[in-house]
Symmetry: C2
Subunit: 239 residues, 2 copies
């Protein structure tokens, strides 16, 4: 026999499931933006870059919808314990995904300028970096959808290869600049694109951290292994 209380509980579960679905959709779109921005860069495809720029508004809109829906759940359901942590986490993750979208859009903008400049090397590092951050992003969103704290902890510890590729690109770009001043505009934009990808990787890590907290209620260690040494990098011009 179905009681009014069953009905309310089921509808509440449905609301929580809907939040998960919205986040999964937003995560998929964010992944696609990261992928397409990088493909636009590597293939010098300004039309694809323009598509990425145009699609970013959808991520902004999804963030607003998720936040508004979460606030409604807070106001009407007064969730407790794990549900409350999940709702707070959902708003944080939506914000991370919106930021990832901004970085992808910025990379796409810069790729248009890079495409009009001399070609600097293979840009393989960028494809590799994009693939790594997309994998982490996908794994983090899967961990969220499946309430999987262990998977989240694995993503959290998996940022180092991204930082390694980033540090390599940083030095490579400075070397291109020193070789020929005509490389400077492209190399500068490529540096910022690499930084965008690195920040996207950080956001994937942050999502994993948030998911772990939401499921377990306790935090991962204060400092994750972090290998971005580029802030201290010095590259010397050729003699």
């Amino acid at each position: 026999m179905e009681t009014q209380s069953d009905h309310i509980v089921r509808s509440y579960d449905e609301q929580l499931r809907r939040v998960r679905d919205m986040l999964a959709r937003m995560g998929g779109l964010a992944e696609r933006q990261v992928n397409d921005a990088t493909v636009a860069l590597v293939r010098r495809d300004a039309a694809l870059a323009a598509e990425v720029i145009g699609r970013d508004a959808a991520l902004d809109q999804l963030e607003r919808e998720i936040e508004a829906f979460c606030i409604r759940i807070l106001a009407t359901r007064q969730p407790m314990a794990i549900d409350l942590r999940f709702i707070v986490a959902a708003m944080k993750v939506a914000h991370n995904l919106e930021r990832i979208g901004d970085y992808a859009r910025n990379a796409a903008k810069r790729s248009i300028v890079v495409g009009q400049q001399p070609i600097l090397g293979s840009l393989n590092g960028f494809s590799r970096m994009a693939r790594l951050v997309q994998e982490n992003l996908k794994a983090a969103i899967d961990a969220l959808v499946n309430d999987d704290a262990e998977a989240a902890a694995r993503v959290w510890g998996n940022d180092e290869p991204v930082d390694d590729v980033y540090n390599g690109i940083f030095r490579e770009m400075l070397t291109f600049m020193m070789e020929d001043p005509r490389n400077i505009t492209a190399a500068t934009h490529l540096l910022f694109i690499a930084k965008n990808l690195e920040r996207i990787g950080d956001h994937a890590t942050n999502i994993a951290e948030t998911v772990h907290y939401a499921v377990r209620g306790d935090s991962l260690p204060d400092e994750r292994p972090k290998a971005d040494s580029s802030a201290y990098a010095v590259v010397r011009p050729p003699e």
Copy 2:
């Protein structure tokens, strides 16, 4: 006569006031970090830069405390309407301030490298940018503490001068690089420091937007006036 209910309400108000106090303290510390990171850069003061780097953990800790306290209020008080919006806004603003701290720390790290490289110009643009973003940050936090939606809207529309200075620095640094390859390391780090300051300005704007929403319950327009044209900038080497 004091009733139990009066007591609970007063204690709830005290909790909300405590959130405001914590955010004001965090905002003050974030402002100081931005100021000191810039002073460390302009004066080539590595000891001050190291202080900024060391102090960043305090902002991380404050964010965690504010979030934990807000979640406790959500769980125990079930705030409604404006109070609920305020609590959600408080968590978002704490996150913005933590990010501002990260950018200040990163700028401080890079300032140490810049201080070991040839001097590039006066760095007046950096001082000006830092002053503008600090003013916006202070005004945004004041708007939060005073529930002042109009003041928040003013901050929100006030980001353009920051972007103008940033765009000027971007071109100036590329020109330094093109003049002499020995400038490239310093100019690259200075570009990223300028970007850090520009992002700090964005976060001040975001805080203002969040405050406006918390007080009024409706959003500011989708796109604020945004003049960062550096993503499309092309600078040519001297003939």
